[in-house]
């Protein structure tokens, strides 16, 4: 198969600053590709290399197998069209005049515009639905309309490849869809190869068949969106936690960044014992530490994801052997540890015969007058045969344990410096 765009070992940069390190990527004819990555990763530099604005230091760039430096500018314009984020001109050109500029590279300098050129311009305007306002001034249009005019201008070039550089980032959701629908239609009907650069990960995942994740001038992942857009990849590249959700019915990928929480209270001098397991308490422990609480934990099985995090965060934890029920000895040590805490929090952890005795730690604490917080709905995660977890929970609640639903409610109930001041 013919590669529409091919970059082989391209190194490029500006002046003395190297931006792209030995990049290789290729896009098949008729594909919709996307380049994603954080600011400063080199996305626009790749585009500048493909359009010939920037000469690569080493490596080769080829369009349909032909080296870019052997393609004349007018010929290049007939192969590659670019839709930038926005195009402005200080002059008051009409919409039709702007669209006609798409023919600049195709008409010899001394020749007037031909019937054929006029037809191409008409068709381009019809395709993007701007025929009705062709006599209006470009500068007086809305951002969405302007972008349609620019697409018509690019269509008048009759390119085989369309590059989009943040072409929809100024637009609202409806106009974004409108533009992307035109592009998708072009791809299907006219077999135009599309390469888009976007910060919008959801959009890139939605429309692209091939994605390249770029970081610091290196392609760190390439392939299908499912392969490239993973929590791990994005965390490594963007440096923040994200949730990647794949819709079971449509296969749509949605990426949502996790908000970094600012400590809302100070737990300095207070100790909280956490009963967790299976990763249910990870977020809780992280937030407690963020608020400067002294955190203890247990009993957990070795290798449990909560246990791994606890040891990474240097949380004092009572450990049991992997996949083993809690032994009497561990329980005693945990009870002693919990008795030194100001409060005990029971997280969203499910209970089975192996870990149900963790609830007894809470029971001992509440007997000593400590506060105990239980995540609501324990009966739904009680997998013990005799429903002993549920009955223990009822016992705890009868003794004054407090239910909690979400973390912000929970934190407002925890002892803290602010709470003490209020008293």
């Amino acid at each position: 198969m013919n590669h529409a765009i091919e970059l082989v070992n391209v190194t490029a940069g500006y002046k003395n600053k190297i931006i792209l390190h030995n990049i290789s990527l290729s896009l098949n004819e008729g594909d919709i590709g996307g380049i994603i990555g954080p600011n400063g990763a080199g996305k626009t530099t790749i585009l500048n290399v493909i359009t010939g604005i920037l000469q690569p230091w080493t490596g080769k760039v080829a369009i349909y197998g032909k080296p870019l430096n052997k393609i004349s500018p007018p010929e290049r314009a007939r192969l590659v069209g670019v839709i930038p984020a926005s195009v402005t001109t200080p002059m008051n050109f009409s919409v039709r005049e702007i669209v006609s500029m798409g023919r600049t590279g195709s008409i010899p300098r001394w020749k007037p515009i031909s019937k054929n050129d006029e037809q191409i311009i008409e068709r381009a305007m019809a395709y993007t639905g701007i025929t009705d306002f062709q006599e209006q001034l470009y500068s007086e249009l809305s951002a969405g309309e302007k972008q349609r005019v620019i697409i018509a201008m690019v269509l008048a070039q009759q390119p085989k490849i369309i590059l989009m550089d943040e072409a929809t980032s100024h637009l609202d959701i409806n106009h974004k869809l409108e533009i992307m629908e035109i592009i998708e239609r072009l791809n299907i009907e006219k077999k135009v190869t599309v390469l888009l650069i976007s910060h919008d990960l959801n959009m890139a995942a939605d429309y692209c068949k091939t994605l390249f994740l770029l970081n610091k001038g290196i392609i760190v992942a390439g392939g299908s969106p499912q392969k490239v857009i993973t929590e791990n990849n994005l965390r490594n590249v963007y440096g923040c936690d994200v949730n990647v959700h794949t819709d079971a019915s449509s296969g749509l990928i949605t990426v949502t960044p996790q908000r970094r929480l600012m400590p809302s209270q100070s737990g300095e001098g207070f100790t909280i014992h956490v009963i967790g397991g299976g990763g249910c308490a990870e977020e809780l422990m992280r937030r407690l530490l963020l608020c400067k609480y002294n955190v203890t934990c247990g009993v957990l099985n070795e290798g449990d994801s909560d246990a791994i995090l606890a040891s990474a965060l240097e949380i004092k934890t009572i450990l049991e052997k992997p996949f083993s029920p809690i032994s009497g000895e561990s329980l005693a040590r945990a009870t002693q540890l919990a008795s030194r805490a100001d409060a005990v929090i029971i997280s969203d952890v499910p209970f089975g015969s192996g870990n149900v005795s963790n609830l007894k730690i809470a029971l001992e604490s509440i007997k000593k007058g400590k506060k105990v917080f239980i995540k609501d709905g324990i009966e739904n995660r009680d997998y013990t045969i005799d429903k002993s977890a549920s009955s223990l929970a009822i016992e705890l609640l009868n003794m004054g344990a407090i239910r909690w639903q979400n973390m912000s409610d929970l934190f407002s109930l925890l002892p803290s410096k602010e709470a003490n001041k209020l008293l």
Binding site: T51, G52, I53, P73, P74, E75, R76, A77, R78, V80, G81, V82, P84, V87, T88, T89, P90, M91, N92, F93, S94, E97, I98, M101, G102, R103, T104, G105, S106, I107, R109, W110, L137, S139, M153, V154, Q157
Partner: protein, 326 residues
Amino acid sequence: MKKRWLIVLLLCISVIPVILLSLSTGASGLGMPDTSTAMGQSIFLLRKTRIITGFIVGAALSCAGVVFQALLRNPLAEPYILGISSGAGLGSAIAILIGAATMNVFALPAVSFISAVITLMLVFRIASNNGNVPSIYSLILSGVIISSICSSMLMFIVAVAPVEGMHSVVWWMLGNLQPANSSLLFISSILILAGISILWTMSPEMNAMTLGTETAHYLGVRTNFVLYTTLAIATLITASAVGLAGLIGFIGLIVPHAARQIIGPNHKSLLPVSALLGGIFLVMCDTISRIILAPREIPVGVITALFGGPFFLILLRTRRKQGWIG
């Protein structure tokens, strides 16, 4: 489209009464000069040469203004923005003061032409550090700097110059269409007409360049080639006009705007309209300059702004929508 060519046609037709009016007015009185007498013949020849010079110079300055405004994407750009005028002025002042100007009819125009070109090369050299392609902003900035330095030096020369020399320097700086040597006029006209024609063939590229250098590049325009060529040609025709008639201000700045109001920013029609409008305007101004204080003559550079200013102000106010945004 049809309306546009009608405007061009109308402008072409209006050239005739302008020529007739200018031919029949002058310091020697109203009415067509009687070509049957020797006196009348020489007056006719004098006025005819002035009209041709006026048209050529007006067209050159307006077209150069159009090009500078389009490529520098700046409504304040004019043919003199890159320091050509100050450079030419400095060169000419030196030539006048050391007496070189009177040696040969070609001496003064040649000196002003050469110093204009040297100034432009200097501006480009400063704007493009390390051999990079100069950005529009650095071009304007270094143009303004060079221009200021040259005018300071010019002022210094004017300040220390002997009185009789000073008068001709000032006269030259204000610009005038006093009959030029016919072979000089011929050479300059050829240069200017050829320059405008080449610029006109490049109008699609100049249109694209107003979208910004990058977008023009995407459209298949050889941006550096177009930038250098058009600026060089615009400078060339400006320098020719300056050599012919000295520094005539205002036309290169305002006529392009007025032309854009009339016909829109598309260079294919804007350049011819600017050329015609600039030519007509300068010939009219020259006619006024000859008769307003007759038999004394005032420099045409004074008239262009004094009479043209209000006229174009009205034009700019009545047709806001065309031309520049805002």
